[in-house]
Amino acid sequence: MKFRKLLILVLLTTILSSKEILPSNTYLFSNFGNGYAHIKDTGTSPLRYEGLYTGTDLAYKRINPKVIFNVQGSFSYAATFAADYYNLNYFIGGLSVSYIHTMPFIEGERLRLRFGGLLETSVSGALNTDLQNASLNVDYLTDLMITSQLEYDYILAEKSGKFLFLKYSLPQRNYRAFFKLDLPLLILNGRPEFAYLNPEDFDYFSRRYYVGGYKMGTKLGLKRYLKNGNIIEIAYDWNMYTAGNKDIYLLERASHNFTMAFYFKLN
C-alpha cells in the first residue's frame, strides 16, 4: 500500500513538471562492449556453443524531451566453444532505425516513459571449421520491434569538503538512469533450406524466408552528462533470439554485454 502511494506521488510530481532538466542534443554515439554469448544451431549441432562476446556500435542520435531518434550500425563477434574444444566463430552485422516518443501520461522533469518502434536488419555468419562443407553459414534477420524506455534523471549538487587533510570540491553531476525493453512485432527470418551447404558453388541469398520466431532485448544503463555536452554511458545489454519452430532446424542465440559508450555532441 505504501509502495502504491509512493508510486502515485512520484508520478504526480513528474506529470506536474513537464520540463526536462538535462540538455537536448544530437550526438555521434560510439560504444564498445564485452560479455558472454551462447549460440545453438541445430542444423549443424545439437550443442549450445558458449563463449566470449564483443561488440561495437556507431550511431547518430537525436535526443530531446519528446523524442529519441536513432540510426545505428552494429557489429559483434563471439568466440564460442562446445564439448571442450570445438570452436564456433559467430559474427553479426546490423543496421537499425528507431524512433521513440515520450508518453504524455508519464512525462516529467525527472521521470519519463517513452514508446516507439525499432526496425533492424542484420546478417549473421557462423564459422565452424570442424563441420566440413557445412562449416560456414549465413542467416538473415529483419525485425520490427516495439521499444520502450523508462528514464529517470537526477543531479548531484556541487560539493566541497575535506578528506583527511586534503580539500576537494566536486562539480555538479548530471545523471540519467534508463531501462530499455524491446519486444517483437514482426520477425522475418532467412535461414538455410533443408541442406546446410557451404559456399563453393552455393548461393548465399537462396534462403528459406519466413515470418516467425521470437526476439527480445533489454538494456539497463546510466548516463553522465558532461559539462561540454558530451555523455558517457555504462550499460548492461541483453539480447535473445530464436528462429522459432517454423525453422527447419532451430537457431537460438543470446548475448549478455557490458558496454561503455560515448555520446559526442554534434550541434
Binding site: 545439437p46 550443442l47 570445438y86 563441420l131 562443407n133 541442406a195
Partner: protein, 323 residues
C-alpha cells in the same frame, strides 16, 4: 534474463550412447543422398546396431559401432571424427594400387623433370607426348602455369594427365581445369541437393557447365587422363565431366566415385561427422557415384613393370600415338 532464456530456449539433448546413436542414424536417414545406389536398407541397419547401444558403452566401443554403421554405406565421403579416431571407408582398397611414382621417375621422367606450380611434367615417348602429374585438386594453379605447359607441349601429339590416387580437393579447380580444354560451353553434369527427409527428396537438378577460358590459353589435342580407385571426389567429378568432352579419354581403373558434396555436423557427445547430401548425375541422368569407368581399362602389370613399362601410361600412349 537467464530465466527468460531457459523458458524459451531448448535444452541440450542427452549425450549417452543410445541418444548419440539415434541422433546419427536419424541424420543419415534424413539427409544422406545415395541410398539408391548403395543398396543399403537403412532400417535394417538400425535393427542391427541399436541393440548394441547401452548406457555404459565406452567411447572407444561406441565410436567403433558408429563408424561401422557408417561404413555400411561404402562411401569415402562418410566419416566420423573424434579426438581419438577417424572412421573411414577406404575406397582405394577396392582396386589395385595403380601407380608407383618412383617407377615413373626411374623409367619415364628421369631426374630433370619440371615442377610448374603443383604439376610435375616432362616429355615422354621420344618427346611426342607431354606427361603431367597432378596429384591433388586441393593444389591451386595459375594461368601462367598452364600457359607454360601448353607452350612447352604445343608440338606434341597429345598430353597425359596422370590423376591416379588424386583424392580430390576443390571443385573450383575442376572447372578451372576444364576451361582450358574446350572452346564451347558444354553441360558436364547436373547436381541436386537433398530437400527433405524422404530418401528421394531432392531439389531440381541444376546443370553445371564447362566454360571455355576467355583467352588464348587452351589445349585441344587428344588428352588421356589416367585414373584409378584412388581418383576420388573432385577427381571423379573431373572424370565425369570429361565424358562430355570429345578430346579427353579416361585410361586406367574405375574411379572411387564420391560425387556428392559431403557436409558435416556434430553429435550430442561432441564428435563430428560428414556424409554426402548432394547427388551428381551425367546430363542424361546416369549415376556414377560408385565410380566412373575408364574408356580403356588398364592396371599395372608386374610383367610390364619388369620390363620398365607402366601399363597404364603405355596403354594411354598406344591410343594417343596410334601404336
Amino acid at each position: 534474463m537467464a530465466s527468460c532464456e531457459r523458458l524459451v530456449f531448448s535444452p541440450n539433448p542427452p549425450a549417452d550412447p543410445r541418444a548419440t546413436f539415434q541422433y546419427l542414424w536419424d541424420k543419415i536417414d534424413r539427409q544422406y543422398a545415395y541410398f539408391d545406389v548403395k543398396n543399403v536398407d537403412w532400417d535394417e541397419i538400425y535393427l542391427e546396431y541399436a541393440p548394441k547401444m547401452h548406457a555404459d558403452l565406452s567411447d572407444d566401443s561406441l565410436f567403433t559401432y558408429l563408424g561401422s554403421m557408417m561404413n555400411e554405406l561404402k562411401d569415402g565421403h562418410v566419416n566420423l571424427f573424434s579426438e581419438f579416431n577417424k572412421s573411414r571407408y577406404d575406397i582405394r582398397r577396392l582396386g589395385p594400387n595403380n601407380i608407383d611414382f618412383r617407377f615413373i621417375q626411374d623409367n619415364y621422367l628421369g631426374a630433370d623433370y619440371y615442377y610448374t606450380g603443383p604439376f610435375i611434367h616432362d616429355f615422354i615417348a621420344d618427346d611426342n607426348i607431354g606427361y603431367i602429374r597432378y596429384s591433388s585438386f586441393s593444389s591451386l594453379f595459375t594461368d601462367e602455369n598452364m600457359m607454360f605447359m601448353f607452350e612447352r607441349y604445343e608440338n606434341t601429339d597429345g598430353l597425359i594427365f596422370d590423376m591416379r590416387q588424386n583424392g580430390g580437393g576443390y571443385l573450383m579447380n575442376v572447372f578451372k581445369f576444364l576451361s582450358y580444354f574446350t572452346l564451347t560451353e558444354e553441360p558436364v553434369y547436373t547436381t541436386c541437393i537433398k530437400s527433405g527427409p524422404d530418401h528421394e527428396a531432392f531439389t531440381e537438378s541444376v546443370a553445371e557447365y564447362s566454360t571455355p577460358y576467355d583467352t588464348v590459353i587452351h589445349y585441344l589435342k587428344p588428352i588421356a587422363v589416367l585414373i584409378d580407385r584412388g581418383s576420388y571426389s573432385a577427381t571423379s567429378m573431373f572424370s565425369l565431366a570429361t565424358l562430355q568432352l570429345n578430346n579427353i579419354f579416361l585410361v586406367g581403373d574405375t574411379t572411387g566415385g564420391g560425387l556428392g558434396m559431403p557436409n558435416g555436423g556434430q553429435l550430442p557427445n561432441g564428435w563430428t561427422y560428414r556424409f554426402s547430401i548432394t547427388r551428381t548425375l551425367t546430363p542424361d541422368g546416369l549415376n556414377y557415384e560408385n565410380g566412373i569407368p575408364p574408356d580403356i581399362y588398364a592396371v599395372l602389370d608386374s610383367s610390364d613393370m619388369a620390363q620398365g613399362y607402366d601399363t597404364v601410361i603405355e596403354t594411354a600412349l598406344d591410343s594417343l600415338l596410334g601404336r
